[in-house]
């Protein structure tokens, strides 16, 4: 771009792993084009090693993030919304280029993404009240069920909705205390890396969200088969790939969220959170 004759300084889009922005260790990249077919950038093409590194980073972040207070997690999600709002114009530009929508429509999609984060931020200290219970057992026992995060979740982001869809699959996973490795939309990965810049400056601890760009059909099965991943959201998988991934996921009994028809503009269902929540029940005798 050369308004007033100046050559623009372009951004290099890299991966987001453990709070840092490395290039793929493989040195590979792929060309990303706009909806009209114009060249936008070379995105990193993540390798299996990058996927493994991302899982290691997510696992390392899990104890701290899952032990953070729900209030704190809610504050941080709200902070992400604030930072996203502040970069509204930049995201609207990227969404318009990626999806070929009007500037006005792109702005609305960014607004919806901000609002979605705010919606989920409020869930952090309420989902436990819905999913937990003091159980009236037939005996002198204190018996309490609480919701806990499942662990490291692989998230295959939807191909459409490079920002709103992406935010809609990440927020429900992390708000409850999980950490994640996200495979961004292969077609339109650039907003995911710009979102990573937002995440990196929102007090979100390093490794809670890790973003990989590259071929979904290559990356998703690696994560589905990874033995240190506890759950997988297959939203962005076409049917054949979803089948492959669900089979691979059986090896260590991952929790699986299957792809389903979903409008990103509608109010979300709770299963994006509840699929990756465990119920822990604690018993203790009552006595003097």
């Amino acid at each position: 771009m050369s308004e007033n004759g100046r050559l623009a300084v372009r951004k290099t889009y890299k991966l987001f792993i453990g709070g840092a922005f490395p290039r793929s260790e493989s040195g590979r990249s792929y060309a990303v084009t706009s909806s009209k077919g114009d060249f936008l950038a070379n995105a990193s093409r993540a390798s299996r090693k990058d996927a493994r590194d991302a899982v290691v980073a997510a696992r390392k972040a899990f104890p701290g993030w899952s032990a953070a207070t729900a209030y704190n997690r809610g504050q941080i999600l709200y902070r992400i919304a604030e930072m996203l709002e502040g970069r509204r114009a930049q995201f609207a530009g990227e969404v318009a280029e990626a999806d070929g929508v009007s500037a006005r429509k792109a702005g609305e999609l960014v607004d919806a993404a901000v609002d979605r984060l705010v919606w989920y931020a409020g869930w952090s200290d309420k989902i436990g009240a819905l999913r937990g219970a003091a159980n009236p057992v037939a005996g002198p026992y204190f018996n309490l069920s609480t919701a806990e995060p499942s662990g490291v979740i692989a998230v295959i982001a939807p191909p459409m909705g490079p920002l709103l869809g992406l935010v809609s699959v990440i927020a429900p996973v992390i708000v409850t205390g999980n950490t994640c490795v996200v495979v961004a939309s292969e077609r339109a990965p650039l907003p995911s890396i710009t979102l990573a810049e937002v995440l990196a400056t929102s007090d979100l601890p390093a490794g809670v969200v890790n973003v990989l760009t590259g071929p979904t059909a290559e990356l998703a099965p690696w994560l589905a088969a990874h033995m240190d991943v506890n759950g997988i959201d297959l939203t962005g998988c076409p049917p054949d790939l979803a089948l492959t991934c669900e089979r691979e996921a059986a090896e260590n009994l991952k929790r699986v969220l299957r792809p389903a028809e979903e409008s990103w503009l509608a109010e979300p269902r709770l299963d994006r959170m509840t699929t990756f929540l465990e119920t822990k029940t604690v018993w203790h005798p009552i006595g003097i």
Binding site: A242, E246, L253, T279, T281, V282, W283
Partner: protein, 475 residues
């Protein structure tokens, strides 16, 4: 110290076992297409009855019957479904002694446990879910949560009738119909339950019982017209089922294996902890997925605790499951006994120290003495693999952090135990332990109101409580 006990056998006269049993499909007992098999009393190896084996065509008949019954059953007002379940609960109570004796004969578990644990919990489970049937709109799953359809359910041999209750009660309360396959070594109480369904006047096809082995189970889980699969059993089979269900859209819940840590701190009430350790691993011969099979004892009290534990183990009475004084009954099958022996031998070969109290074993039947391994390393098979028998592996720790590290060092995550008098430490550990049930200063407690199920490779979904409804509703 040895106590002398006179024999105190429970009478077998309350049960009337037929020479052979058919499948229960569409409200009637029918022949099976497979080769019939025998159910054996594991305490003396006598044949109890010949059981029909369901082949794929039989399973298909059962699923069709369940599908047809689903139309009317799911359309019944919840209050009517509730009354059927209350009826079933009452009949279970009325026939409790008969069912307890039958369970002990078929499974080998002590009558004290089948009578005082299994049967009361079976009745309680039906009572509990009966009450939900007409209150589902208040359960937090939306204003009108719908059932899934036909549930294919596969249950294990360790708590045959109780696992049936855990599966059937919530399924029916939510408006589903079921095809249930009991374990091949313990089909008798499920077939008695079929009679109970008839006595209760339950509409034909709402409950179907298909007996058989793994192939029958695979046919149930794999049937195209089954909407929901629920399985309790080994992690190995759970994986196969998860794999087979992939891509079908069937809802799946799995309650699989475990290798629970039972953690004892130096400030614990030792006598209570010893009782909890015994309950944790020797209840039901250790045939319990949530058994406390790894004892983690704080190093400073290792000698004292093990001394007390060994004294206590010496008083356990192993023998006739129908004797009211028996603590440890028979191992359920020759196959399971072989597995326990293999793993116990591996414990010795890998360098752990094996100890059992002096414990004469009956000549006939399948028996294994209560066994303790000390000097166990985390890498030993007996510390990693589920033995599913009366074998306890003892490890030690120094700090609470080390206890958590060791307790969580397993792909399983079903249950855990904590013994300490310090409240804040209990809650700290309860937070850190990656397990679905944490028993603090108690162990192996169950209640229909209390959700049960695992983390990680112990499976997913919960049984019991409001949580248990979710597995059988389209939510």
């Amino acid at each position: 110290m040895r106590f002398e006990y006179a024999p105190a056998p429970e009478s077998r006269d309350v049960v009337d076992i037929k020479p052979s049993y058919g499948l229960f499909v569409n409200g009637e007992f029918t022949e099976g297409g497979g080769t019939p098999f025998k159910s054996v009393n594991p305490a003396d190896e006598t044949v109890l009855a010949e059981i029909a084996c369901a082949d794929e065509a039989d399973v298909d008949r059962a699923v069709q019957a369940a599908r047809k019954a689903f139309e009317t059953w799911s359309a019944l007002p919840g209050s009517e479904r509730a009354k059927y379940l209350f009826r079933i609960a009452r009949i279970v109570q009325e026939r409790a002694r008969e069912l307890a004796v039958l369970e002990s004969l078929d499974n080998g578990k002590p009558i004290r446990e089948s009578r005082d644990v299994d049967l009361p919990l079976v009745a309680a489970h039906f009572f509990y879910y009966a009450g939900w049937a007409d209150k589902l709109k208040h359960a937090g799953f939306g204003p009108d949560p719908r059932p899934l359809g036909v549930a294919g359910q596969i249950i294990p041999w360790n708590f045959p009738l109780l696992m049936l209750a855990w599966k059937i009660a919530p399924a029916l309360a939510c408006g589903n119909t079921v095809v249930l396959k009991p374990a091949e070594t313990t089909p008798l109480t499920a077939l008695a339950f079929a009679e109970i369904c008839v006595q209760a006047g339950l509409p034909a096809g709402v409950v179907n019982i298909v007996t058989g082995a793994g192939a029958t189970g695979a046919a149930v889980a794999g049937h195209a017209d089954v909407n929901k699969v629920a399985f309790t059993g080994s992690t190995e089979v759970g994986r196969l089922i998860a794999r087979s269900v992939a891509g079908t859209g069937k809802k799946l819940t799995l309650e699989l294996g475990g290798k629970a840590a039972n953690i004892v701190f130096e400030d614990a009430a030792i006598d209570q902890a010893v009782e909890g350790i015994v309950t944790g691993i020797f209840f039901n011969q250790g045939h319990v997925c949530c058994a406390g099979s790894r004892l983690l004892v704080q190093e400073s009290i290792q000698e004292e605790l093990l001394g007390a534990l060994k004294r206590r183990l010496a008083t356990l009475r192993l023998g006739d499951p129908l004797d009211k004084n028996t603590d440890i009954g028979a191992i359920n099958s020759a196959e399971q006994l072989a597995r326990i022996r293999t793993l116990a031998d591996a414990g010795e070969q890998e360098g752990a120290d094996r100890w059992s109290p002096s414990c004469p074993l009956p000549d006939k039947g399948f028996w294994f003495p209560p066994t303790l391994f000390t000097g166990v390393a985390q890498s030993h098979r007996i510390a990693r693999e589920e033995i599913f028998g009366p074998v306890l592996s003892v490890l030690t720790f120094r700090t609470p952090a080390e206890a958590v590290e060791k307790a969580n060092n397993t792909p399983y995550g079903l249950s855990a135990g904590v013994w300490t008098e310090k409240g804040s430490r209990i809650l700290w550990l309860a937070d850190k332990l990656r397990a679905g049930v944490v028993w603090a200063n108690t162990f192996n407690r169950f209640d229909p109101a209390s959700p049960f199920g695992g983390y990680k490779e112990s499976g997913y979904g919960r049984e019991g409580g409001r949580h248990g409804l979710e597995a059988y509703l389209d939510v």
